[in-house]
């Protein structure tokens, strides 16, 4: 029986008077690469922020690695934070630090290693994220969108987390960079044994690297399973969603 890494039970939240989640249940086991999809405003990012402890739901339980996120003390939460990495939508790099120091920051803060060693480890992470060595001394403002995502990925991986959260990792990238980024995520997930939880709109990502898809609709989980399984669900939004991708002989409409 595989270990359950993320366990969301009966979570409800309303923001600004709107009910976003109603008794939502999601669980992810170790080693899975999971995608969360859903229309705009269905609370995908809200769910992500709840899981990583940035937002507190009104009711329900959220466990990471078997430990409650909602009832943890700040110290316990800090220990927990070292076990997961987050890649924010636009990278969220620190503009006052160069690339290398951006990646080394978690190591500076959470380990007792010498700063020189931290920077060497940061360059190892940058190399794993597919960046050339000459990028290390640049500032985030000098990088292209794809490179910023890679730096952010390297920073998320700095402390060798077991769990990686990605918020729309391929948004804003051109199709070629996006596919390369997908491949990179899958490669790292496989070689480092990561569990990956990503929020996405990108159909190509779903078809290429995802083990299981979770669909959010009207505050609940509409369905979960492989892409092929989801196509059998009769839901107008899902039908339109898969219809958006005509090629590859996928007969999304069923007619």
């Amino acid at each position: 029986m595989a270990e359950i890494v993320i366990d969301v039970r009966d979570v409800s939240i309303s923001l600004g008077g709107h009910s976003i989640h109603r008794d939502l249940n999601v669980s992810v086991t170790r080693g899975e690469v999971i995608a969360l999809i859903g229309g705009s405003g269905t609370g995908k990012s809200v769910l992500l922020r709840e899981i990583i402890g940035l937002l507190k739901p009104d009711a329900g339980h959220i466990d990471l690695f078997g430990q409650s996120v909602l009832d943890s003390t700040p110290e316990q939460m800090n220990v927990l934070r070292r076990r997961f990495g987050v890649l924010f939508q636009d990278g969220a790099l620190f503009s006052s630090l160069n690339v290398e120091d951006n990646v080394a920051t978690p190591l500076f803060e959470h380990t007792r290693l010498a700063h020189g060693t931290c920077r060497q480890l940061a360059r190892l992470k940058l190399d794993m994220a597919g960046l050339l060595p000459d990028a290390a001394k640049k500032r985030p403002s000098e990088l292209s969108g794809g490179m910023r995502k890679r730096v952010a990925l390297a920073r998320a991986l700095a402390l060798d987390p077991e769990l990686l959260f990605l918020d729309e990792p391929t948004s804003g990238l051109d199709p070629i960079s996006a596919r390369a980024f997908d491949t990179l995520i899958r490669l790292l997930a496989d070689s480092l044994g990561l569990t990956v939880f990503l929020v996405t709109h990108d159909l190509d990502t779903l078809f290429s690297i995802i083990d299981r898809v979770i669909v959010l609709s009207e505050g609940r989980v509409l369905g979960s399973g492989t892409v092929t399984e989801l196509k059998n669900i009769d839901d107008p939004w899902l039908r339109d969603y898969f219809a958006a991708r005509a090629p590859e002989g996928v007969n999304a409409h069923g007619n």
Partner: protein, 366 residues
């Protein structure tokens, strides 16, 4: 978490580095003492945990260089071996780098000079751009941004009146008080009025008001234009066929050009009023006598010298602030740096210009 620290020792008999325990970033604060020569075998039978940080440290502990063949990995668990091989493949760029050079005073002076030269050049270039834009606009009065000009004038002038009045009033008080306590000893009470007028109108009011406006308005202009640059508003404006010079820069320059002399005049009045109150209290010079003396000794020239400096300071403040704002790079840090630089450059410009004016007026006998 069961804490088994990372351990390593060198086994001379086998010529192997024997490693065991948990190898990850948090367990590796202290390095084991190891021989200088690289180990060709790493024995990992006792390794319980290994991540990429730990793997890199393990290879470093074995004295492995990127150019060398990978040491023989003996008795590792398969997933640990895979991580070590992955890390070895990606270690190409992790060689220890020399720390940054510490620069001496000479190098710093040289660098500073270059920066000053760059700012001078940039400002000249900016003035050129602005001039061509102005020439273009002279024949097209419909393209002047009067609304923006009005909004800027309100922000620069009306908003600054209380602080200018307050500061110059207090400076007038202080100046008259110090001058009075000296003049009293020689029975030269009435000459305090002469000194006060000369100092306030010629030097104190123009310089202090310019410094205030540089800190208040100059910084605001740079921060505002810089943030617009960061959010690509300025690029958007250009693509819509609006010239940032005409829409943003020229209204600001004109507003400052008009506002600063007016503020200096308000400062003049405030300083004189402050001095008048003090001379009344301290030296028993009645308001009537004070005003009579002002009418006697005040020459138009004294007032005009002060008012003449104001528009020149204004142009420099506006040009420096706008140029620094428009040359912000696209990150948050740059906005802060440029705002600081604006204030420093404006203050330096004001002090240097004022010194030049003082020498010039004395030589010209004005």
């Amino acid at each position: 978490m069961g804490v088994t620290e990372a351990r390593a020792y060198y086994d001379e008999a086998q010529g192997a580095l024997i490693v065991s325990g948990d190898w990850h970033a948090e367990s590796l604060a202290e390095w084991p003492v190891l021989p200088d020569s690289p180990s060709h075998i790493i024995d990992g039978a006792g390794v319980t945990q290994l991540d990429t940080n730990g793997a890199w440290m393990m290879l470093a502990a074995a004295g492995w260089q990127v150019s060398d063949p990978l040491p023989e990995l003996r008795a590792f668990q398969p997933q640990h071996q895979a991580i070590l091989e992955l890390v070895a493949r990606h270690s190409g760029s992790t060689a220890m780098e020399p720390g940054p050079l510490h620069e001496g005073v000479l190098a710093l002076t040289g660098r500073g000079t270059l920066v000053m030269g760059k700012h001078g050049l940039g400002l000249t270039n900016f003035i050129g751009h602005l001039s061509t834009e102005l020439i273009y606009l002279v024949s097209r009065p419909s393209q002047w941004r009067w609304r923006e000009f009005g909004a800027q004038l309100n922000a620069v002038f009306v908003g600054a009146i209380p602080i200018v009045f307050g500061m110059l009033f207090l400076l007038g008080v202080v100046f008259a008080y110090l001058l009075g306590s000296q003049a009293q000893q020689y029975g030269a009470n009435i000459f305090v009025v002469d000194g006060l007028l000369l100092a306030i109108l010629r030097e104190i009011s123009p310089v202090i008001v310019a410094v205030l406006v540089a800190g208040r308005t100059g910084a605001a202009i740079t921060a505002q234009l810089g943030t617009m640059k960061v959010t690509e508003e300025i690029d958007a404006m250009t693509t819509l066929g609006l010239s940032p010079m005409a829409v943003l820069v020229i209204p600001r320059v004109l507003a400052l050009l008009l506002a600063l002399p007016l503020l200096v005049f308000i400062g003049d009045i405030a300083g004189i009023v402050g001095g008048m109150l003090v001379t009344h209290e301290q030296l028993d010079i009645s308001y009537y006598v004070f005003m009579d003396r002002v009418a006697d000794v005040l020459r138009l020239k004294t007032l005009l010298v002060g008012l003449f400096k104001a528009p020149i300071f204004a142009v420099f403040i506006a040009l420096i602030a706008c140029r620094m704002g428009l040359s912000v790079a696209r990150d948050a840090r740059s906005v802060g740096e440029h705002t600081t630089s604006t204030v420093v450059q404006c203050l330096v410009a004001i002090i240097i210009l004022n010194a030049i004016f003082t020498v010039m007026f004395v030589r010209l006998d004005i």
